[in-house]
């Protein structure tokens, strides 16, 4: 076998190995759905809010400065949101009297009249904001509902989840946010 042919065979073999390795990498790649929001993973600053409540009161990020606050994206037709509602109510009742605490619901993909009825029926006492063109949902990078975010007094999104949360988890997140800790 000549030297040139020997070299060509090695190059062909190396090329084949690279191709097979690439194929194996592609084949074993699994796309898992994350449960931690991107803003939490990146320790990002919470997007600015300029929305109105269902009864027309303006809510801005400036009003929330120096507070630890919870933002919950939800709507009336989402079953996990309905299942999560008792936990949110219990959590809110535990902390609503604390001066450095706030909680906001932001409507995602639902209309105000339906939501007014839902809020009344569910006994939701925290401010529920209308996001008419979905800009707040986009700023948070939501991928569904419910989604919950906990924002520390310095404005950083420290904890959160894609999907329903529980009282225990929410309390742990609140403590972490107040203690200057990240959940990730």
């Amino acid at each position: 076998m000549t030297l040139a042919r020997f070299r060509v065979r090695w190059i062909a073999l190396a090329f084949a190995v690279v191709l097979v390795a690439f194929g194996v990498v592609l084949a074993v790649q699994t796309r898992s759905e994350p449960s931690i929001p991107r803003l939490v993973l990146e320790h990002a600053t919470a997007p600015q809010l300029h929305l109105k409540t269902l009864d027309g009161k303006a809510v801005t990020s400036a009003q929330l400065r120096s507070k630890t606050y919870v933002v919950n994206f939800f709507n009336s037709w989402c079953i996990p949101c309905q299942q999560e509602a008792p936990a949110l109510k219990s959590f809110y009742d535990q902390h609503k009297s604390e001066g450095d605490f706030a909680m906001l619901g932001i409507i995602i993909d639902d209309n105000a009249p339906t939501m007014r009825g839902y809020v009344r029926d569910q006994g939701i006492a925290w401010p529920v904001l209308v996001d008419p063109n979905g800009s707040a949902a986009l700023d948070y990078g939501t991928t569904g509902q419910p989604e919950t975010y906990v924002i520390a007094p310095d404005g950083v999104v420290v904890c959160g989840t894609l999907g329903p949360s529980s009282v225990t988890v929410l309390n742990a997140w609140l403590a972490a946010a107040r203690g200057g800790q990240q959940c990730t």
Binding site: N133, L138, T143
Partner: protein, 174 residues
């Protein structure tokens, strides 16, 4: 070159020039806000579905993005800035085409690499084939040729006849 010979070349040059102008004009993207919005909707993937662009999807996120794009265009944001905003919210998975940096280079680079490797392989193969020795004449072949020439020079054989042709008398075994 005479004028008569020049005319077809001029006509060909004119056709090529018109073709180039048409291509350049037609390939220039429409920069109207509506066209930009439509283009961006096609370039962005629905963040919560599989295999659908924002333009095709009816998910709440896609509808919100469709509402949001014209507002950003009206606010003076460039197409790149608008794409970057959505990437910052939904990662590069929201882009229908891979970016030209990071891992996206692999997607752009692999086809180009394959074309270059293919072209190189063809060049190497053609050069090798052209260098490969042709069929060499065996001693037997050369002997036949030598005999044919000798017979031709002696005038025994007609130049068009084959050297292996048997003489007419041979058929009888004479």
């Amino acid at each position: 070159m005479t004028r008569g010979k020049l005319v077809p070349w001029l006509a060909l040059a004119l056709v090529v020039a018109v073709g180039i102008v048409v291509l350049v004009v037609r390939s220039r993207p429409d920069s109207s806000p509506a066209a930009r919005a439509a283009r961006l909707e096609q370039q962005l993937a629905c963040p919560v579905c599989e295999g659908q662009s924002v333009a095709d999807s009816n998910s709440p996120q896609s509808r919100a993005i469709r509402d949001d794009i014209p507002r950003r265009i009206a606010a003076g944001e460039s197409d790149a800035e608008i794409r970057q905003y959505y990437v910052s919210r939904y990662t590069e998975r929201i882009l229908e085409t891979p970016s030209n940096s990071g891992i996206g280079i692999v997607a752009w680079g692999l086809p180009a690499l394959a074309v270059i490797l293919g072209a190189l392989s063809i060049v190497v193969a053609v050069r090798r084939w052209s260098r490969a020795p042709r069929l060499r004449a065996t001693d037997e072949d050369e002997d036949i040729v030598r005999r044919a020439r000798a017979e031709s020079e002696a005038g025994d054989v007609h130049p068009d006849s084959h050297p292996n042709d048997e003489a007419p008398g041979d058929e009888d075994g004479a």
